[in-house]
Symmetry: C2
Subunit: 467 residues, 2 copies
């Protein structure tokens, strides 16, 4: 009987493919950039667009205001004796810069070679929309939903989800769920779907160095003052060495290594180092000594400078000593590091190494702890089956290099243990970069996986309590 | 009889002060930014404005085309038995960035507290214009000019004077002169006029690092590739140490120390370290170990990063590894360093230290050799007297930290030895920075000094040959 429902719903998904894609394009056209306040109205427009869509799916909806961008909530309750699945996603997107490296306008989606190209296509609008359209297809078949569904879509994920924690704390009853599914990642590789059971955390800083109170001529003043760009470079060059080892005092104290079974799982994953090198266009892959590339991005912390600025950046030669310079620095954390501890270590280290001739300011822009889900939970098994049905292939279990700060919040605040991270996208979707894209096959397989997940979760023995 | 002429001309300068200032404001309104090609038309407009002004002074004028911005020439010949003075200046200006740190629009001059505020006010429009208006006042008195005058005003000084060398070589006869006066610097301090007999040279580079061919997500790719900002920082942090000692191999080989008389002259100059520190708003002055501040900027080479860029520079947290990063690096050279030698050393050093995982490109943007004029020449004595008459105070002899690439060209190509560098501006005129300014008293004293210089030079025994 399950198979019968699946067959019917899948047929509707295939039939309505083009209409679903059209709707997705409408969603992608809204430039909901959360980091840049000049897009504020557009972020709200995206939230309102979602609420209207959810209402058309028969859901009870509500917009929750925050200090900044709103949270969209939708609920479809069917029965107390069915498990409740909470679907999390985010409708905000990264800034589209650098604009001139895009083939199409990032907010005027273009379909080429089976992909839809747009900012947010894969991260995360396309993925969350697959869950919504799965419900659309299901409802058209007239079946009763085997689960209770709750949708939580936030608009601040790309700026570190500053309002979500309070939202979860203030609405614990409303959000009670037996499992949370999050599709904000990607498959392991083309044709190899995955369940992510680990995520790295994040500590993100802005460092600014203040030198003279005005820009100075480098001829007349070169030799008289410390150049703030030099001071900044001095600081940044002491954050890690040329073997990619982080130099912040006590930084590695809380880092734990994975067990042998896990390391073996990583080694079994197909990984073509040369193909990746070519795809990225680099001379060689690079990272911490003593670890394989997949290990480095799975369970080792890394530090990156995400941006740097100071002085004259345009055409030609301007001979100044600028009055200030700055950089954005982020650290990816692994179990059992805590972002607040690492933030303290970072600030202390900077205080220690900052040259006395300049003033150094540090601002904390984001923080999130790393996550590890028990990969033996029955809900993980259900998700494994659902993916096999939706994508036609058994998934691998992986730990991801990225950060989804909210996953930790669902664990810590709502107490949900089965956190099902099922990314529908692909590793080369170019999220956060120019020409971000999402394959339309993945959009379809994502809808099918969502449908299969409801059926698989409903099969598990009654777990209607929240822990 | 000299004194009589001076008294009369000085009275005219005082009487016509306001009209002269009005004309200067018109000149300053033209945004003749040579480094930025979007101002190309404005640079030409400034050249044409000058030609018209020179013609009104009774000069024969000509515009010399270059591949880029034109050179303006004006000549007033009086007699073969009078010395010929060539006045050099430049009508192009530095880019006005950062615009938001200006009190007034940089090309809408504003007069406050006796200063005119505008980009180019001191560097060099206001100073070259003083020489022109001196001639204006002189002619109104009806005296015969005691010298032959040649004006050469170029439009590419701020981009390293790429066309001037060919211009001088192609027009040696036209430009023959007994002395060259250049007012493109400043007095030693408020109330202490100076003759500059030394300049530092310049080698200016743009360094660009290429990493992956597209921006990458720092979560998914952190630990897999070398971040080009890191590679850049690694390189830049190895250019000099924290004691401001330049680390490029063999860099100091050709540096010569000044003689004891010179060092004593420097030590005699009034210099208030604490006042300068306060004025610049820095915690402490900073520079090479073992040298006084004035020594560091007079006869020691320095290296500055004038600009740096890469990745995300705007509001908020964007988690990318950028595909490229770059910086502008300039080195101030001292006798007997040569810019071509230092350029070779720089490129070789970068090749040696560049991390193999990235591609590093170096572009040479400008080069100029340092200059030392014999401070015992009779023309230097004449200039000393002229300044005493024009400013009412005996000048000090100094070596400047900045670079005027053309001074070297006049020495090397035209073979002129008396290179009279008489800056009318002040050290705190904020040239190259926001709120550049020029004091109107200096404008007047500059005109008077120009007048006195003609008279003093004419007193020297016939030196009508070019060497």
């Amino acid at each position: 009987m399950d198979d019968e429902r699946i067959g019917k719903v899948f047929r509707v998904i295939e039939e309505r493919r083009d209409a679903f894609i059209e709707e997705l394009l409408d969603f992608l056209k809204i430039p909901s950039v959360s980091a840049d306040s000049s897009y504020r109205i557009d972020v709200r427009r995206a939230a309102e667009w979602l609420v209207a869509s959810l209402a058309r799916l028969g859901m009870e909806t509500k917009i929750f205001e925050t200090g900044n961008h709103p949270i969209v909530f939708g609920e479809l309750f069917t029965s107390f004796d069915r498990p409740t699945l909470l679907v999390y996603g985010h409708y905000d997107v990264q800034p589209p810069d650098p604009l001139d490296e895009w083939t199409n306008n990032p907010f005027d989606p273009s379909i080429r070679d089976g992909y839809v190209y747009a900012r947010g296509a894969s991260d995360d609008k396309g993925q969350l929309f697959a869950h919504m359209k799965a419900l659309d297809a299901w409802r058209q078949c007239g079946f009763e939903l085997p689960v209770n569904l709750k949708f939580v879509f936030e608009g601040e994920e790309e700026i570190g989800s500053p309002s979500l924690e309070a939202f979860l704390k203030n609405n614990e009853d409303l959000l009670k769920a037996d499992a949370v599914v999050i599709s904000d990642g990607h498959q392991f590789a083309k044709g190899i779907p995955a369940i992510t059971y680990g995520l790295r955390g994040l500590a993100y800083f802005e460092v600014e160095v203040e030198g003279p109170k005005m820009d100075l001529h480098s001829g007349g003043f070169g030799g008289l003052v410390m150049n703030p760009i030099h001071a900044l470079i001095f600081i940044l060059s002491r954050l890690k060495d040329l073997k990619d080892c982080i130099l912040i005092d006590n930084f590695y104290d809380d880092v734990i290594m994975p067990d042998e079974e896990e390391r073996e799982m990583i080694r079994q994953l197909p990984f073509d180092e040369e193909a990746l090198r070519k795809e990225l266009g680099v001379r060689e892959l690079f990272g911490e000594d003593g670890f394989l590339p997949l290990e480095r991005k799975s369970f080792r912390p890394t530090l990156d400078i995400n941006g740097i600025w100071g002085g004259y950046q345009k055409e030609g030669a301007k001979t100044i000593i600028p009055s200030r310079a700055g950089a954005k620095v982020s650290i990816r954390l692994v179990p059992n590091q805590r972002h607040d501890v690492v933030t303290r270590l970072f600030v202390e280290y900077l205080k220690k190494i900052a040259p006395p001739a300049v003033k150094v300011n540090v601002r904390v822009l984001a923080g999130a702890n790393p996550v590890l889900v028990d990969r033996k939970l029955p809900e993980m098994k259900a998700a494994e089956h659902a993916i096999e049905i939706g994508f036609g292939k058994k998934p691998v279990f992986i730990r991801e290099g990225g950060t989804i700060p909210v996953v930790n919040m669902f664990y810590e605040i709502l107490g949900v243990r089965p956190l099902l991270m099922i990314g529908f996208g692909r590793p080369d979707d170019r999220i956060h970069g120019p020409d971000e894209r999402f394959h339309l096959d993945d959009f379809l397989c994502g809808m099918k996986t969502a449908v299969a997940l409801w059926i698989e979760l409903a099969k598990l023995s009654f777990r209607s309590e929240g822990s």
